[in-house]
Assembly symmetry: C2
Homo-oligomer: 470 residues x 2
């Protein structure tokens, strides 16, 4: 880029958001160059714009399309696939100023929010109304806009579904500069192609959400958590469809392997009252959380789940008190940080049919052993989303291992990612393993939205022109 | 079309499916020319092909693309938007032979089905396993492929969502002749653009589903239905968020206006035990169905709902016995046929935020009165999906009325259709009322899938070249 063009771009972008809401060159802090993904080099974006309105976002995109500046959206940047890692020399659109809960609508049971709203803030805003937005990825500082970008899932998906099941409408800025509205305060719609659903999970590569209508559900007042150690992981997996099939509707159904359990109880100084004899023999734990409108029904359900799990081979069942349960769930939510602190080189979240989890995990461990690497994990037992911390310092060997693990997931009818997304971190694997006909179709869809190719080039697939990513 | 081309096409298509599975010219029965939509002229397709495999579907599409023959998919043809009305001279791909439930997977809680499977057949296949596919549009002879095409909703959507929330994966044939697989036996996925969701609701204009993986949920054994008459429709609407917000999780939440109630009780010879005094004063009825794993919890919930509804202004609450409840729900499901038998000229299903239902209905009735027309209705109170039977014999006046009613729905934050779709019947209104930027974007998406423009030209928007629809 010549410096004239740079100056021109700076002036043009500053005209849109105001000079005080534009950072350029050395003003751009290091933080804007990365998200939480391990093993991805941070980038040096040339500009950070902080729009205050949807119209400004649209105008930024129109300007970027005209000047051919690659654009990456940024919410809280807690992502784990480098989809919020910008492009060197590109523009970051940071939603830090667009962070308001605009309305909690208690009749239609929706909240209308700006994309920069954090999940913990939205949770606070809805709690007083007895309502909740149920998407709970581990990180509560994540933004709703980020949820939309990656189609975030989290622990409660087993009962409430993932982001795409909980977003009813969007206002979005197209790369061509138009603002559109999709869906609405309505759960049902058959009115042309579902652009809401297409934008969700597109990792900021098709359009940028500038307002999000999320579904709220009644916040049930009573909940309890049962922890069940099992001798074999297979038993955990076999128990899952039985628990769900009973109609008890658990809202959390997680497994934690023995190594991860040791790490998180140690890190969180969590005393769960599990005797050493059980701890030494248990290969995996199942965590089942139940909720109810009424305490007595909850108590009866906990009893029923505990009996069922014991029949299904649990070594014991511990009903955790509120504080231990909260700590365990929090520790599980922070498993990523535990893995990072333990020196994990990468963290992945393959999804497979839940019936295939034992075979997948056995194979992943074998592959790791052959590769002189280590994998330990925990994950969403209810939906087959396996989170693995990978220990292998050598990048080439790590790449070989990841490709082999992802291939195995695909072979078993799964996908590279259940909720973290592909982003930049996994696009090589995605392109290697995905059906070329689908990749071609996705590229044509990308082209339909973004003829100039400015929106987050380098996520999902290699940018069309190599110059658009440096 | 010259007769050489016709002969050539016939030979080519017969090569794909076998001569005995291809109808041409006069062999094509009248039934193949329409679906259940009122007021749409039937068409005369030139060919009906009955493929037996996904590969044959893909090959039919490749051939049609090459020969530029417009293609319309047909399941049970119970649709109400003429999306299954073919194009004169075109090809109907009828899924009547691809009608098997391939697997009921009790571990992953999915069924894998061919698109021609009817909902009542799928219901039977899953019942023995204590599981259910929860999409229940009125017509149980509808096919799963048809559900996918229109994103069908139905009465249970208030608890279980619509088709897009209950389809986890597809095998689909692209118009360019490739077969792709999307999603899988997995509820969570973040692996590129969600083609499953894009194909659902696209009315057979992007790709044709050749296999569908549907989500199954536990079939709860106990259910009960409460019928509550109200003096004012507004009271019905105000009661809805209170009932949902209580966490009682009704699986049906319908309203029926007094005229429709009179018609369906008369037609179904339904005796609900409502005294004349109530019947004469009630302006609308709310139907609430609850279900539970346990009979005693259900009884307590029914009690709680009845008390709540009485507090909220219900004139009385009738707990219907199993047989009356079944009849009422069936009669409600068949409201379309009742309206048709009563001489309705059209049936529409506008969706608005549920808070806006009273304003919408008042306005719709005013508009009808000004237009010397009549509207009566019932609908999904839980999700703002208002079904209206429209009485106006004059096509020009009817068109004016529909445009005015649809505009009003859009103004209130809703859409032309909640579950019937746009199809051919409502494309004029859709093009008049939808944001042109969105229409353009949808056209480009269509182009990305279907460069030859063969798939169901004339649904959603005018065909690109006028010759492609006669």
């Amino acid at each position: 880029m010549s410096s004239t063009i740079e100056t021109d771009a700076k002036v043009r972008l500053a005209e849109v958001v105001g000079a005080h809401n534009l950072l350029a060159g050395d003003e751009v802090g290091e933080d804007y160059g990365h998200d939480e993904t391990l093993q991805v080099e941070p980038a040096k974006p040339a500009y950070v714009a902080k729009p205050g309105t949807a119209e400004e976002v649209a105008e930024l995109l129109a300007t970027a399309s005209e000047l051919r500046i690659p654009v990456t959206a940024r919410g809280s940047a807690t992502g784990l696939s480098a989809a919020a890692r910008p492009v060197d020399g590109g523009l970051v659109i940071s939603f830090e100023r667009m962070n308001r809960v605009l309305e909690v609508d208690t009749v239609n049971h929706v909240a209308v929010v700006q994309p920069g709203v954090r999940l913990d803030e939205l949770d606070k805003a809805t709690a007083d109304h007895g309502l909740a937005y149920t998407v709970y990825p581990g990180e509560q500082s994540a933004s709703v806009g980020g949820n939309v970008g990656t189609n975030a899932g989290g622990m409660r998906a087993v009962k409430y579904g993932v982001t795409r099941h909980n977003v009813l409408g969007l206002q979005a800025a197209l790369p061509t500069g138009e603002l559109i509205r999709t869906g609405g305060r309505i759960a049902k719609i058959s009115n042309g192609y579902d652009l809401t659903q297409l934008i969700i999970g597109s990792e900021g590569s098709l359009a940028l959400a500038t307002e999000v209508i999320v579904k709220l559900v009644p916040r049930l007042p009573h909940s309890a958590t049962v922890l069940a150690p099992f001798r074999e992981f297979t038993e955990v997996v076999q128990a899952v469809p039985k628990v769900i099939g009973s109609g008890l509707a658990p809202h959390i159904l997680e497994y934690i392997d023995n190594l991860t359990m040791a790490a998180i109880t140690h890190t969180s100084q969590l005393e769960l009252g599990i005797p050493d004899s059980v701890r030494d023999t248990a290969q995996a734990y199942l965590v089942v959380a139940l909720e109810n409108r009424e305490q007595d029904r909850l108590d009866a359900d906990v009893q029923a789940v505990a009996e069922r799990l014991t029949e299904l081979g649990a070594m014991d069942c511990y009903v955790l008190d509120g504080s231990s349960a909260r700590k365990l769930i929090q520790a599980r939510e922070h498993a990523f940080w535990t893995a990072k602190a333990a020196g994990a080189h990468d963290v992945i979240d393959v999804v497979v049919p839940r019936s295939a989890m034992p075979e997948f995990l056995t194979k992943a461990r074998e592959l790791a052993m052959q590769n002189e690497s280590g994998v330990v994990g925990c994950g969403h037992a209810g939906d087959g989303n396996v989170h693995l911390a990978v220990f292998q310092a050598d990048p080439i060997k790590r790449q070989e291992l990841l490709l082999a693990i992802f291939s195995e997931g695909a072979r078993l009818g799964g996908a590279i990612s259940g909720e973290h997304g592909i982003g930049r971190a996994k696009r090589g694997y995605f392109q290697a393993l995905e059906d070329p006909a689908k990749i071609e179709l996705m590229r044509r869809i990308k082209q339909a939205f973004d003829p100039a190719g400015i929106l987050n080039p380098g996520v999902l697939f290699d940018p069309i022109s190599p110059e658009s990513e440096h």
